[in-house]
Amino acid sequence: MGATGDLTPELLARSVWSDEDMAAYEIPFKDVPFITIGGGIGSFVTVDYLRIAGVPASDIAVLSNIGHPWQTYEYLTRVSQIPRAERIRSDSSSRPDNIWGFPSYALTEAWRDKSVKHLLNVLTEPVFADFWTPRAGTVFEGLEREAARIGYQDMLVKCAVRMVRRREAGGYFVVGSPEGGPKRVVYRARYVHIAVGYPGLRFLPDLQHFRERYGDYEHVVNAYEPHEHVYEFLKTRPGTVIVRGSGIVASRVLQRLIDDREAHGLGTRIVHIFRTYVDGPHGPVFMRRRGGHGWAYQGFNYPKSVWGGQLKAQMRRLEGAERAALYKKMGGSGANTPWRRKWQRQLAAGRAGGWYETRKGTVDSVVPGAHGQLVSTVGGEEIRSNYIIDCTGLEADIAESRVLADLLEHGGAGRNPLGRLDVERHFEVRGTASGKGAVYASGTATLGGYFPGVDTFLGLQIAAQEIADDLARRGFCRRIGPVRSTAQWVRWLLNRPI
């Protein structure tokens, strides 16, 4: 054993490390009881909960490759056509900057704009109005305020995390590579929380094939990568765009194409390909969802009661195949989008004007055509277009994330019925316990567990609450009861730092 100060292959091959190893290899480490990896919205809401529960900032480290918690979210929403002034998908009381969800965003915007319009919307939704949702900008401003209030920057360590390894005497070692600093940082922690968001972009296989085969990354784009050049091109001359996918991102991209068409009098033609074409309301009487013109409609990515009502309670009791079946029934695997008046109007105009057409089926091939065009073949028909926008996926396999891959290989973690990370009802990653230590995970990596709404602000807060309560049971922090909750809420309202 050489005292190299490096993580040698021999050490990396071992799943469990000890303090003696660290001494023998002369690897310095810091002690921090609670570490959260990721530093996005999931890490933020968890840290927010713990700070409100009384955990000092010095007991927490956020290891992240981004500088502020909403950075990745803002990037993804912006490229997928939700700039700051546009409204996001989730509702008024899904507030990642406020663990109580009160006052709701609608109240906040009503107060700021001195207008009851927002409140009337919330009062009459979803029957007489579309679901009210906050502007992206409102969300970011709130997060900025709360981050300052809880001293978020003091807890943040900029680095790319490589792995979490169990420590022989309990707890974990967490290894990260800082940006432009020393080669690595190592932490010794009792509790580790992982919220690394989306492991990567996923392209439709035929589009991936096209990009690789022809080296063309310009004409076939994913909605989650920057693709302004498509909209800029269409402003210079009329063109045809194929849109693939039927989720909210497809709705957004269509809105952008049509907004531009309306604003600049463009001649853009749109061909929208649905793999699954929904032509009307579907499902049995007690599980009946709206649909039409290809789309399945629902306000949020799951039925609302997944976040606190009947479906949440039901799913919590199910295991294995039964759970996977209920996921399927709720349409968790299929795409859906909200029914919004503006979108309905725009697409109806497009159908009437003949410049918005739909096709059902799968695409057999995409090849380059004449004049820099693309030729897609759908059920024998050849469709020519200038661009293809893939609006289907952000859901790569969890093993594409190096931390999660390492956790599966060395940490004892396993997969759930949907193939993602298997977590308990309180979001502890099953199989990863180490002495008195625990690893928790939240966000999209945990989809398929006892709680389906994981990849949403509210879902991340629900996970944070479960985690904070579990940590309270373990004696790491206090359980927030009614008195503390109320007192802390007043502090939040007055923007008093904790």
């Binding site: 006052p103 009661s305 009502g309 009614p482 109320t486």
Partner: protein
């Protein structure tokens, strides 16, 4: 809050006992008749309410979201008020004032402030126990 049946009932009873009683005590000097009559009204809203919640729960099953929109929580005041009035026949104007104030207070609290002391309430389908 997305209600469970048990959560609906618990929340109703809790808020009527707390906010309902407070509003009743505050309004009592303005209302004709003895205070006990007004508490009788309150009791009836609670008692019949348990039955109503069963009906609402059933109706909710026809909704894909399994939710209960904010507006429903307000307009259900009409049938509920009518049934209580028919059962007890109190003085109409005073009843409207009292019942309306209680209903509004409960509805307002359930749509936000409840979450402040009870951090887990909204994720537990409205259950307090």
């Amino acid at each position: 809050m997305l209600p469970l049946l048990s959560g609906r009932i618990q929340t109703r009873l809790f808020l009527l006992a707390l906010a309902g009683s407070l509003v009743t005590l505050l309004l009592a000097p303005l209302l004709p008749g003895p205070v006990k009559d007004h508490f009788l009204v309150l009791g009836a809203v609670a008692l019949f309410g348990v039955g109503w919640e069963l009906v609402y729960h059933l109706l909710m099953q026809f909704r894909w979201e399994k939710d209960w929109p904010t507006l429903f929580g307000l307009v259900t005041a009409v049938p509920e008020g009518l049934v209580v009035w028919l059962a007890l026949r109190p003085e109409p104007l005073a009843f409207c004032l009292h019942f309306g104030a209680v209903w509004l207070a409960v509805w307002l609290l359930a749509n936000g402030p409840m979450r402040v002391p009870f951090l887990r309430w909204r994720f537990r389908g409205g259950r307090l126990l």
